[in-house]
Symmetry: C2
Subunit: 427 residues, 2 copies
């Protein structure tokens, strides 16, 4: 793990605090059953909960703890606590939420229907039970808000605060094992008419969120998902049906999916004409971007965490790309002078989070931790300077803008100070 | 999907109930926020829950709804509702439990320690924080009670009841994405003395459950796991530490792990000398079996479910092997006369559940659904007749015995009746 000590196998120093402690100090445990009502124990046994010592929660950003988005009273965003993440699956209870209504709709699955209509030979209506009879696939896919890791929108100024955690900077991405019916299969059943080039997908929320999506995505890998991580899709992720558009901006992954219309032009729905177009430095607006670029971030050690003593640490993080599978992740602990390959943990799946790990001996001095990923299309995660070139050289652009910069997939630096504190060092 | 109609692409009949419904019948949804207290909404947002329409629960067998094992008041077993499973991950809330104490110990992770001692150069004590600094791996592994799908122990007579569900027959297996430190790394740190051939692993539960494990497993792939499906190991699965012994009988996967002793012979702990040895027909007892054989089961359609109409159905199920990865799953719908390959869903991981799917057009007549798996060691799941050969030809043996037959990995048949009901047809 340490290239300077190639033959070294031990991670603990002889004589360190860990070695030679008396046997009698091993674990203590108490049994809690005594004062817990029987019905409560029964309920927990039927459907378990995490330990009461575990307190990871979704939350807004450090400068927006009430997590409301500025422009609409019922908009809010809650990020996944990536600093506590392990492996590559996001627990459904902690999947990020960006919502334009405060509560998810309360949908009775027996009453819910999915309509496929428009430029089709046969309009079709599917119940959940109908869909579950059809051929399904199960796949790992991340879903990421296109405002994730940018200064606009969700995180705002928290993105560049030295006190930002990785939940603040990158928490609007989550990864699940999705199960559902390929949208292409449903379109074949309906029979798509010549000239249909887009679909409009609509949710059953109060706002009837709509999104235009090129039909090529439907023929490729879009999924009408009814399950997530081995159980029904959670209410805040779209119960009972979510359209999953692998690798594409979160807004395309329409929750509470109830309608797909085959059309010959984009629908120009509210969200796609108001908040999501991107303003470039030349003043032109670019509409209809979809694919998320290759991105990686170290989740441990990360902002707000603390290294208690010098010595061996595992560096652990996540990498993902809308373009395909992660092929390589490199780590630097010296501000980018030297890079070494991290190990990729199973599974390394297409358009999914990939867990990477690397060993590091912290000598107690200042250090700058960074990760850089490459996907199987050969796309390499850029430095901040490289991103800035695309947008002009004035980094103040990123500091000042409230626009969402959807391709801000720059390498994230975490600074480790001599006191063991870890700080956001994006600027 | 239907070999008799090779060119057929559509799964729905023209003119069937699904086609041509009026647009206006699409989804309806109400918003439930009105009468939900704000604090409750906040709590749900911080850490979400499943829809209140989803009611899958762990439960005992149909003839033992109180789920107590017969011989000890605080023993119980609760099985995973495999009939509702999708993909290959078991939600942690639904992971099966076999417990020799009614409540899991309430362990403060800051106080918990793992001791490694016995025939080592340096006894070591690890806190949870210590372990989380060390190199980790993340892997999919199933854990299965060796009494799963047998007539002994957990299911008892429910195993052979025509009314058994797949939760009754096969629910004592679950699959998670485990993250932790390879036990081999900890043993290297401690320095194993010559002559140490076994380890004894001990839990921090009131019973101090102990299990002897050959040291070769520790050097191979045993894992000291602190996380499961992206979050800390759940209390009922061993919070904060569980020893995972991939592919081996559940009893080896010691929960609430607090001590590993290096020894030169098995410990002969209570559970390994009393309940788990296996009595063969010749009266000899075989001790210390570990590896679970290749097994598969169709989870949908399965016992207790109902097919509403003839037509297309997806057959879906799980396959796993303690010997390695699943290489192939075949399906028969005609009582074993014809078999065709099922599709294996991503991921197909070593010693993990693998989801398989296959299309089937039910003509409305009687049918017998079976699955048969082959692992990457070439081991094929046997028929009941083949299993019976190993144990004599008297199938009454299986009906009458209350011993656990740990290699009863026979092919599971589900009978579909003309009325659409699905029944257990194991005998």
């Amino acid at each position: 793990m340490n290239p300077k000590e190639p033959g070294r196998r031990r991670f603990l120093k002889s004589g360190a605090a860990l070695a030679g402690l008396a046997v009698g100090t091993a674990a203590t445990a108490k049994t809690a059953a005594a004062d817990v009502p029987e019905e409560r124990i029964d309920a927990l046994h039927k459907h378990g909960e995490r330990s009461h010592y575990v307190d990871s929660i979704r939350r807004g950003s450090i400068n927006n703890p009430e997590r409301r988005l500025p422009d609409e009273a019922k908009n809010f965003g809650l990020a996944t606590p990536l600093q506590d993440s392990t492996g590559m699956i996001t627990p459904a209870s902690l999947h990020y939420i960006v919502s334009h209504g405060y509560e998810p709709p309360d949908i009775d699955p027996k009453e819910h229907r999915l309509l496929i209509h428009g430029m089709v030979d046969r309009p079709l209506v599917f119940s959940l039970e109908d869909l579950q009879r059809l051929p399904s696939v199960s796949r790992f896919y991340f879903i990421e808000c296109h405002g994730n890791s940018t200064t606009g929108g969700l995180g705002g100024a928290a993105r560049i605060s030295p006190d930002a955690t990785v939940q603040d900077t990158h928490g609007f991405t989550s990864c699940s094992h999705w199960t559902g019916v390929p949208l292409s299969l449903l379109l074949k059943e309906a029979g798509v008419k010549k000239g249909a080039t887009w679909i409009t997908a609509e949710g059953a929320d109060a706002n009837r969120h709509s999104k235009s999506i090129p039909i090529a995505k439907a023929w490729d890998d879009a999924l009408v998902a009814y399950a997530q991580n081995g159980e029904p899709v959670r209410p805040e992720q779209g119960y009972p049906l979510r359209l999953v558009t692998p690798g594409w901006q979160g807004i395309n992954n329409v929750k509470w999916l109830r309608r797909i219309e085959l059309v010959d032009e984009p629908y120009m729905a509210m969200m796609e004409i108001s908040r999501y177009p991107r303003l470039a430095l030349d003043g032109k607006s670019r509409w209809f971007e979809f694919e998320m670029g290759p991105k990686s971030v170290i989740t441990r050690p990360s902002g707000g965490q603390h290294l208690p003593t010098p010595g061996f640490y595992e560096i652990s993080g996540l990498a993902w790309s809308g373009g395909g599978a992660i092929r390589r992740v490199e780590i630097s602990t010296d501000g980018g002078a030297n890079w070494k390959d991290a190990e990729l943990q199973i599974p390394v799946a297409n358009k999914a989070h990939t867990r990477f790990t690397a060993g590091w001996n912290w000598n107690g001095g200042e250090a700058m931790l960074q990760s850089r990923c490459t996907d199987d299309q050969g796309m390499v995660q850029p430095t901040m300077a490289e991103v800035a070139k695309l947008w002009g050289t004035d980094l103040d652009y990123f500091r000042k803008t409230t626009l969402i910069v959807s391709d801000l997939n720059a390498i994230q630096p975490w600074k480790v100070n001599r006191d063991g504190s870890v700080k956001n060092a994006i600027f």
